[in-house]
């Protein structure tokens, strides 16, 4: 009887130990990847400033920007996308709307399709990082809802983006 209990305790401890070892490795790797692996855990916490609003938290950043006629997530936005994906993974009830946007040059219909491609690529990256399909809706606004008006590279660059909006924000 006693033996049995000891075995069980050992078993539990060793499980914990192995888990710790694993997560240590994970952290190492996340660091090596240049990253922010530690922030995701904070998402679950309920008090104080919401991590989504906290300006010091990466989750407060909500826009992914693109090059002209491109839909690939540039490496500088990968951490941002990952952080939101982890938040969604750890908060099963959270939902996001991804809105793809383009600058206003060229065809409105092509831009609508390009905006969709941008939103889809963020969605796919999130799905691969632990978020679930039901949590994410990807839509396009094309060039119809510009954040910056007028012509010129600064306005165009501002409008080539995907916005991440959480439920209640849209």
């Amino acid at each position: 009887m006693k033996k049995l209990l000891t075995v069980l305790i050992i078993c539990l401890l060793s499980a914990c130990a192995s888990q710790n070892k694993q997560s240590a490795e994970v952290d190492d790797r996340a660091m090596a990847g240049g990253g922010s692996g530690s922030q995701d855990g904070a998402g679950a916490g309920g008090f104080g400033l919401s991590p989504l609003r906290d300006p010091n938290n990466i989750l407060s950043q909500r826009s992914v920007y693109y090059d002209y006629d491109s839909y690939t997530i540039k490496s500088e936005y990968r951490e941002l996308v990952l952080a939101h994906a982890r938040y969604l993974r750890d908060n099963g009830d959270a939902k996001v709307l991804l809105q793809g946007n383009t600058d206003d040059r060229g065809s409105r219909e092509y831009n609508l399709a390009l905006g969709q491609k941008r939103a889809n690529s963020v969605k796919n990256a999130m799905l691969l990082s632990g978020a679930r399909d039901q949590q994410i809706e990807a839509v396009s606004l094309g060039e119809e809802k510009p954040r910056a008006t007028g012509h010129g590279e600064s306005a165009w660059a501002e409008n080539r983006r995907t916005d991440i909006l959480y439920q209640g924000e849209y």
């Binding site: 006629d69 040059r105 060229g106 065809s107 409105r108 219909e109 092509y110 609508l112 399709a113 390009l114 969709q116 491609k117 889809n120 839509v139 396009s140 606004l141 094309g142 119809e144 809802k145 007028g150 012509h151 849209y170």
Partner: protein, 436 residues
């Protein structure tokens, strides 16, 4: 009163004079004009009493085609064939002269008479008389322009057709319908969310368009006479780029059911969803060939947006053939009414311009040289292309002749104008209650 009349004449002749200067300017800019038909349009008698000058509209219509050169009247105002001193008109280089009269009737309607005279033969080519309500004078003027155009060029006149476009005023978006010269505009629907891609049904009774009123693009078809409208494509994801089949039975639409934008076919009532093409990238902006057997569309399957053609039935259905090879951005294709060529937007350096390309010889011709041209749409006779462009940040509509020789703004609308679509040529518009 006499003084007033004289001022009116002065104003009218000034108008015509300035119109002539404009035509000369076009010739100087484009070096064309050798084929232009010289026509003199004499203001109709008593026209100054009307709320609307008929001959001013006729002149503007004809001039916009780039096929006519307006000859000044130099104060001569014949209204009847007997008044015409043909030698004078011949010396001014006019080969045809338009004369006519208007009489305001006691009931408020207007009796309009017009004749098109051959200067060399000193005889009448065509003409008509008709009684029009005073609010239909524009319609009458466009009809006269059609008759003159048809008599002198042998082609169909399209001045009596209508156009659709989207006007943005403040945060309001209005889908509007206007005469072919942009006047008489009225909204058929207004929203605080964007409207894009209006498309006329082949019989001119309906318009399909994309509205963002549900926070995402959904395709509606609206019947113009009843204002009744129906969401014909409201699938998961985005629904856009409607294009009517030539017989009006079906619509090609772009859906994102499986992630990317792909072309589908639905019945005009929204039923019978059927996939048309499959590609790993974006397929959008379908447009039917006049025979209904194929579509042209924009696709980025080759790494940049280019125009492709694909049969929609038969052995080669679904096999896309690339049509554009110049440059890295070619979008918004539209077949010419004869199916022998297509117009599209070509990025030319940092400019976006209207291009015209033959399907047989693949020769590309750039028709415009402004900065942000969009949404080309052929006139039903194929001789002109309506498009959206920008002047100091504001969207306006412009018309270019298919040979690129003449461009003219449709300057009547207010607000930010975009997404023009030229309506079909209808039998009813060709008869509108006139007795020839």
């Amino acid at each position: 009163m006499r003084v007033f009349t004289r001022y009116c004449y002065l104003a009218l002749s000034l108008l015509l004079w300035s119109a002539q200067v404009h035509a000369t300017l076009n010739i100087e800019i484009f070096g064309g004009g050798s084929k232009k038909i010289p026509v003199a349009i004499v203001p109709f008698s008593q026209e100054e009493r009307l709320p609307q000058s008929i001959t001013a509209i006729v002149s503007a219509d004809l001039e916009r085609t780039g096929l006519f050169k307006m000859v000044g009247t130099f104060g001569q105002t014949p209204h009847e064939p007997g008044d015409i001193v043909y030698a004078d008109w011949q010396s001014r280089g006019a080969s045809a002269i338009v004369i006519g009269s208007t009489h305001l009737l006691p009931d408020g309607r207007v009796d309009v008479r017009f004749r098109l005279m051959d200067v060399a033969k000193t005889s009448q080519i065509t003409g008509f008389t008709g009684v029009v309500p005073s609010d239909q004078l524009r319609v009458a003027a466009h009809r006269i322009a059609d008759i003159i155009y048809e008599a002198l060029t042998g082609d169909m006149g399209v001045f009596s057709t209508r156009i659709a476009f989207v006007a943005k005023t403040g945060n309001k978006f209005a889908l509007q319908i206007a005469d072919s010269d942009g006047y008489n505009a009225h909204s058929i629907i207004e929203y605080s969310e964007p409207i894009i891609s209006p498309a006329w049904s082949p019989d001119g009774s309906k318009i399909a368009y994309v509205s963002f009123e549900n926070k995402k693009p959904v395709i509606y078809v609206q019947t113009l006479a009843t204002r009744e409208r129906k969401a014909v494509a409201n699938f998961k994801g985005s629904n856009s780029a409607p294009a009517w089949s030539p017989n009006g039975d079906k619509l090609a639409v772009v859906l994102t059911l499986h992630g990317g934008s792909q072309i589908f076919l639905i019945n005009a009532d929204g039923s019978g969803l059927q996939r048309l093409a499959q590609s790993p990238g974006i397929d959008t902006e379908p447009n039917f060939s006049p025979d209904g057997r194929s579509i042209i569309f924009t696709s980025d399957r080759g790494g940049s947006p280019q125009i492709y053609r694909m049969a929609i039935s038969g052995g080669n259905a679904g096999v896309a053939e690339r049509l554009t090879f110049e440059g890295s951005y070619n979008v918004s294709p539209r077949f010419s009414p004869d199916g022998k060529s297509f117009t599209y937007i070509h990025r030319n350096g940092d400019r976006f311009n209207i291009a015209l390309q033959g399907l047989a010889n693949r020769q590309v011709q750039l028709l415009t040289d402004s900065k942000f041209d969009e949404s080309p749409s052929f006139a039903p006779n194929g001789k002109m292309i309506l498009y959206a462009t920008e002047i100091s940040g504001r969207g306006i509509l412009s018309v270019v002749s298919s040979d690129g020789q003449t461009k003219q703004r449709l300057s009547s609308q207010t607000g930010d104008i975009r997404e023009p679509s030229w309506g079909p040529l209808l039998k009813s518009q060709r008869n509108n209650h006139f007795i020839n």
